[in-house]
Chain length 251, copies 2
Amino acid sequence: MPNNTNNFSLELNPNVSVDCVIFGFDLEQLTVLLIDRGEISSGFGPRLALPGNLIYDNENLDMAANRVLDELTGLKSIYLEQVGAFGDPDRIHKQSDQAWLKSIRAEPEARVITVAYYSLVPMSKYKPQASSFAKNAYWVPVSQINELAFDHYEILQAAKGKLKQKIKIQPIGFNLLPTKFTLSQLHRLYESILDKPLDKRNFRRKILKINILSSLREKQRGVPHKPSLLYEFNEEKYQELTQTGFDNFGF
Amino acid sequence: MPNNTNNFSLELNPNVSVDCVIFGFDLEQLTVLLIDRGEISSGFGPRLALPGNLIYDNENLDMAANRVLDELTGLKSIYLEQVGAFGDPDRIHKQSDQAWLKSIRAEPEARVITVAYYSLVPMSKYKPQASSFAKNAYWVPVSQINELAFDHYEILQAAKGKLKQKIKIQPIGFNLLPTKFTLSQLHRLYESILDKPLDKRNFRRKILKINILSSLREKQRGVPHKPSLLYEFNEEKYQELTQTGFDNFGF
DNA sequence: TTGGAAAGTGTAAAATTGACACAAAGATAT
DNA sequence: ATATCTTTGTGTCAATTTTACACTTTCCAA
């Protein structure tokens, strides 16, 4: 084990890791990208885990989170928020398996603090199957997750909570949708995150009133029902609003 | 330097520290408890810093934050929230001075991640002057702080932001006031934290409507004007409310 | 007794919320 | 071509909440 009182280097810091809760939305429900640790987890707790890794001594936390995200999905400049730090002394030991930890180059017996992030990814931009890296990554609907490795279930819950808070006060949902989307999709997204039904008409009225959406002249194609108008998030309008101290995106 | 791949012990973890933003309210404005590093900081950046320390390998983060708080103020079971983790590789080196770092037993050249917490303390419960420990701790009005040691100014800003968010959705302000307080004091508190004026009558109506305050039959004494009725935060009423899924403490 | 200072109180207009139902558009199957 | 299916898209009214605003009361001190 390198001691890290020396020069900055490409050494992994054995005490600090980053875990990412990568949210997606399949147009029906909220999902999370999970790693299947496979047989290596050999009976020691759940196979599924959040993607994460130790940080390098020369990168800051945000960089590390972006790196983890990039290494796994190839995606850069994705919406990313810190959830917080998690660090029971025995968080790893509880349900650990040393082979797995060694495989991600963690010291199995070291005490590790993890800093959790959540990110919002348009699911269309990352299909695990197509990726050469990390073939064992899968989108899993949040509602189907009952347990995860280590303390990752707890982290997921915290991330959901933060996301819920955040979307109540900032219009970040668009990061989970394709550039062009319908109001119904946005509606379902809000319902998934807030975990409660929202009246359709009231939702539309409210979201349109905020005036950060541009309605395109384009319609959905190929749907077996009345096609919906498509909308885009309008960054400029949003910037104007925030600069005038606007604050009420409340849901 | 101990390597921490060994057994759990009372060793300090050289890579992880906890810093506390301890908020108080002097009935006029929001204040923070800061440590004057004094001459030891010998020209290397600001003298004032947030109280903090490295964590022990056998304590979790919340415990560490409580410990820092307790060691400094003698206060226990205080309202405490995590702000988040901060960890530029050079966060200490930027403006550090090694003597100071050594004095708090940090490795001057180690890369340190800090996990920041904020806490709400009734100022009356802690007078730095009266304390035997840490005579160099002072309450400083938040509005007067322009710089702090290390990355502590940044941390303070983040903590203010979190507190602002939080008080909009949960009635935690009482933690900064004496048990018995007046509505005007509460009013000023909200104005300080939200950093904007609130209409007096509207504020009173709203806060009373929520129905988590008990009005005492007691009045202020010795004030050179009409004395105010005193109120208490009513924990039971609050619990009832939250259990019924009440959610709208919005300011 | 008077003056100073903050406490305490009500109302009306405007904005927002919440509840609610049916016609229109396109795709598919017959 | 027609009928059927599915989802889109729309308006109103009542209730509630928000905002703006000014004067009287109470106690202390001079």
